[in-house]
Subunit: 156 residues, 2 copies
């Protein structure tokens, strides 16, 4: 169990959490610089990435603490279950909001050609933050996947 | 293992597959009656639901065959793995395309008020097929979930 990639209190978990923080923060910064939108899908993405950033930052701090103190949370199946639930909810929310935002961005760019008609829309930035959101999702999904197999190995 | 809900060749699996067929078919019929759209998110949803319908119909026929002949595929981990992979891909595709379509529908209805401005758009039907697509997804996810635990119990 010690070698399971992404378990709490390991370097791989810390790398995943920092990657989630960076991608979520980059998405928020990109969304903040984009002009000319007030669309529901983008608002959902903003809220999701904000909470994702807070959660991943908290878990990154916990990983640093566990690495420094050599404490082991990996045998506590209640904590692992809680982390699994929250990571799964965030992964689902990130995927949903990123998919909805991608649908809206493709609609504006290709289907109704708003990006050509209204040059004040920051369509390039919209595409950038959708890609960053999918990257944030991939790291969250990796954490949830790791927690799931850790829980299976604990209960098995 | 015999009692695992949703395993191939059981009545619960047949109910799930028929539900998937009905929801996918209803989504396709609703999309066919909707007027005034040529949006990428809706096109992706149409293609996904078409393949979902074919796959679920095939598996429903297989379930009927297994129920009539009392054959048991539940111990064949290669077949179960294949069903799990395909169900997971369909569940992901259905969730992605339904989320993207929901984003586009909310954009048209609430964000840019196209439904008021252009009465020829069938916005009520757009909402209906998005809900039906999410229902189709929920039954596919249930099948994938069942296949996963069947595979875990086979390999465990």
């Amino acid at each position: 169990m010690k070698d399971l990639v992404g378990s709490p209190g390991t370097w791989s978990s810390l790398v995943l959490r920092v990657s989630q923080c960076l991608c979520a923060a980059a998405t928020l910064v990109a969304m903040d610089t984009a002009r000319g939108y007030s669309y529901s899908a983008y608002s959902l993405l903003f809220i999701t990435m904000l909470f994702q950033l807070l959660w991943s930052f908290l878990l990154a701090c916990l990983d640093i603490y566990l690495l420094r103190t050599n404490l082991d949370l990996r045998h506590d199946h209640v904590t692992v279950s809680m982390f699994l639930c929250i990571d799964t909810v965030f992964a689902l929310l990130a995927w949903t909001s990123a998919s909805a935002s991608a649908g809206v961005t493709i609609l504006l760019d290709r289907d109704v050609h708003f990006c050509e008609a209204f040059p004040h829309l920051s369509c390039g930035v919209y595409k950038l933050f959708v890609i960053l959101a999918f990257m944030a999702w991939s790291f969250t999904a990796a954490s949830a996947y790791s927690m799931f197999w850790l829980l299976v190995s604990l209960l098995g």
